[in-house]
């Protein structure tokens, strides 16, 4: 990595790619039939039952090829919420 990268803004293309993958996985499926999209909804709903979800702190990634789909969910849970639940 060159020093110049330190001063550069973060690359936007990878974000565009991820946003599209999530969106299109959702839009391609005739309502409710897509397992991965459904899993995403249900997993997030379960977490939301226990801690307050800040949607800006949830990152969903979908990837895959013709054989497998990969669903990656990153949820930031604030420490205060963990203390409350315990």
């Amino acid at each position: 990595m060159s020093v110049f990268n330190l001063f550069r803004k973060q690359r936007s293309a990878p974000t565009a790619r991820e946003r599209l993958q999530v969106l299109l996985a959702h839009e391609r499926a005739p309502a409710g039939s897509d397992l991965v999209a459904q899993l995403r909804e249900e997993i997030l709903a379960v977490i939301a039952r226990h801690v307050e979800l800040d949607h800006d702190r949830v990152r969903v990634k979908m990837d895959g090829d013709e054989h497998v789909s990969i669903l990656e969910i990153d949820v930031e849970i604030p420490l205060s919420a963990v203390v409350q639940a315990a």
């Binding site: 060159s2 690359r11 936007s12 293309a13 990878p14 565009a16 790619r17 299109l24 839009e27 391609r28």
Partner: protein
Amino acid sequence: MGKVIVVTSGKGGVGKTTSTAALGAALAQRGEKVAVVDFDVGLRNLDLVMGAERRVVYDIVNVIQGDAKLPQALIRDKRLENLFLLPASQTRDKDALTPEGVEIVMNDLKRYFDWIVCDSPAGIERGATLAMRHADVAVVVTNPEVSSVRDSDRIIGLLDAKTAKAERGERIEKHLLLTRYDAVRAERGDMLKVEDVLDILSIPLIGIIPESTDVLRASNLGSPVTLADARSAPAMAYFDAVRRLTGEPLPITIPGEKRGIFGKIFGRKAA
């Protein structure tokens, strides 16, 4: 029997009309008999890009409604004698196109021409679905940009559902034409890369047209870019796309992918 190509995208302004003119002319430059057909009733522009705007007398709606015969409405290109334009109507609304009328016109065109290249209007309404209805091949024009990719995905879904071929249970041949591509920005990570768009849309790539002032210059002059400057980068990319369309197994090259002097010095890599 001629082969019908629809040039479509969903989103407006990505280069459908430019690409229709360039692909049509490039096919004609190879000696094929070609008709380019404007389906954008009410907002026709293919005549302007082809430089034939002052020669329009009859249009596709006149033919469908029986006011003119097909040969009367076809405009022969001044530069290529085997290239013809069937313009859209500028004054009617899009409901003037009927499915039955379009079918008759397309069947007639297929008898006289080797290739019929249909310029679809933007959107997913009647004009767009009629333009793709009788297609054997679809060229999906996409910019490396999120809204264009999303709309192309939608159009691909329509091609698989609403075309006559799809309804007969056959597969419509679909190709991606990536336009306004800037290899330097993609390399820097500031623009979706070819692989990104291909991964997301998963249809085969027919060509990459670089972002270029030659395209605007050609439309200013009223000439398909393949005729205005056959040696310009976008023209060569369209010629290659046409060779692939006609079945030549030509490897894809990314136009303009060379590093600038700064890229060479610092050897940056995209994240």
